[in-house]
Amino acid sequence: MSRSADPRGAMRRIALLVVTSAVATAALAAGTSPRFGFGKPVSEADLAAWDIDVRPDGKGLPEGSGSVMDGEAIYEAKCASCHGSFGESNEYHVLAGGVGSLQSAHPERTTGSKLNHATTLFDYIHRAMPYNAPQSLTDDEVYALTAYVLYLNDIVGDDLVLDRESLPTLVMPNADGFYPGVGFMSVDGEPDVKAPACMKNCPMTGKEISSLPESVRGAHGNLALQSRPIGYIRQGESMAEVQAAAAGGGAPVAVAELAPEALAEQGGCLACHAVVGSRKLGPSFNEVRERYQAEAGARAMLLAKLEAGGAGNWGEMPMPSVSYLPATDRERLVDWILSTPATGATP
């Protein structure tokens, strides 16, 4: 697990240092030839359409430019419906406002107040906005929108024109508001909370300081219908709710109803009957339909046949009873057989 104990890695690092001090290209070629070599060697240019990330130092920013004024028109057309005309809408992420408020008693967490690098704004708009049409904006449009969102936050003036040179030089209001959580960046990092593993008479009062507010009761629906109704510990806000659910109080135990042909297959009917065409062991369903469709007592006769089985109508080979199928399924099968067009299509 520890990389420092990996002598192979260490030797490679040393080897790399040595060779890079010599002729770089030759060294790289001789350095580490791939063990498998699968995957297609490509150039960075081949990856350009995907390689869209922009770092805080500006690496990755494309050519082009955009102004606050250009950005306003694009924003109104493509962004304002979700973010509000002034970037104030809380419906989705709030873009503007609250600059300087994070250290106050009432911090407003917005893109403008929170973001530490303007490059991130460009990167995100470029890769993921507009929400319903990501990666549809031109580089110029992204520069313009970035400029406009900064303007909405009073971070820049209305005459700003952004490009790959100017964007990384902008200093965001919260530029110093982030620091790396080093304790969480490696498994041997230092935790920030150190709790004792006390076992007896620990310093807990058992005093209840918070419970589910009455106002949110029921907000998550009927809890009794959100777990299985088996066991001595069941879900529900009360014994009454558990009881109601167990008594069938709306538990969504729905059976997906099989289509008639699938029912015929599962019921074993198709072992002896074809849906259309000629006889197998018994008549095809369209043969049955053609013979009996017009007869008044056909439905009752066929239902009796399915229940009791029997021979004679189509020869001496008896049909076994299919009373193992529930009565409702037998009725569905007979109705289907008597009504289905000869194509065999299910109604």
Partner: protein, 436 residues
Amino acid sequence: MKDSLLTGTRIRPAPENHLGEDVIQEARRRFMGGALMAGAAAMAAPAVAASAESLDIPEWTRQLGPGVGTHPYGMPSRYEANVQRRESPGLTRTKQSSVSFTPLQSLFGIVTPSGLHFERYHAGLPDIDPAEHRLAIHGLVEQPRLYTMDDLLRLPSESRFHFVECGANTAMEWGNSAVPTVQYTHGMLSCSEYTGVPLKLLLEESGYDRKLGKYLLAEGSDGAALTRTIGIDAALDDAMVVYAQNGEMLRPEQGYPLRLLVPGVQGISQVKWLRRLEVGDMPWNTREESLQYADFMPDGRYRQYTWIQEAKSVITTPSGGQVIMDKGYHQITGLAWSGRGRITRVDVSTDGGRNWREATLQAPVMSKCLTRFRCDWNWDGGPALLQSRAIDETGYVQPQMKQLREVRGTRSIYHNNAIQTWKVAEDGVVTNVQVS
């Protein structure tokens, strides 16, 4: 004693249509009537009643059932229809950038069925043809490479069990008790067996720059083209590029056909629908590691790149929104996990953290994986405050909520790994509370 109890519950007949209703009736009768003996006597005899109904032959015994192949890809019994991923109302504005929670209260053992693994999308679910999918590895490498799924499936593979937990799991509980069940408090947590190619192998194949290459950018091919910075240490340690989950290809919801897995690190870094890995010499400060997924500290500043999910545990039975329907024996059970390695111990308290005893851990205990713990409990019918506390192999002890708040305040959203309290009332109703 335990055996006789289990036997006793088993022979109780279950009517066909109202499964288990008799259990409730009997529990009510004993509760309300006060006929239950206390203590050990209760454990010995949960009143199986000489009045047990005589058995009928059920309908399913007297008929031929559907044949094989009815469901070429099998589904759970229809009686399990309540066990589903669920959304927490009002949490998000659109379903395309949202989350659904795993029903932890209904699951057993440590593996999350793939169809119940929690979902988190940022721009909806992409429908990716694996034949068209590509993974690019470039940046500070000797030779950028573009891999097809054919290439990746040909490389040496590994399988390991790991948990995935969203960094915002339990976020709603920072300020106060807010949601009713463990599905909503802790359900952005799942555990699977993953199969794929060690990321270290791919990096070595690329000839990455061992001196300058300190970070990776991982990028998805969904409509968010989601990006996260990965530390090279984690990438070389046990990270994988995975294509399979619980024996089959990844579910679309979990990144089909390819995702990154950085064990122990928060879910957002397990970039799904993975299309690109770039080696670099500095973190990228992406939107998902600045505007989101950074910890808002009491001084009004943000702690960034807080990747690792620290040791945490939760009791899943009994848990919030449940009702204990009988006094006497019940097994307390739950899950523990740590992003720093193996769980070494889980303690359980029934008095709100004053006194603790050690739970049994299900073997094998695996690194950065869910660990199931179990503990016998004889409920005397009185009020109780249930807690569990995980300790991992680094010696880290899961903190009480108040200990966490002393350092982090209450506004952080992310990385709430505090001890959870479930209050058991005398009527058996279990609710979500916080205690001091």
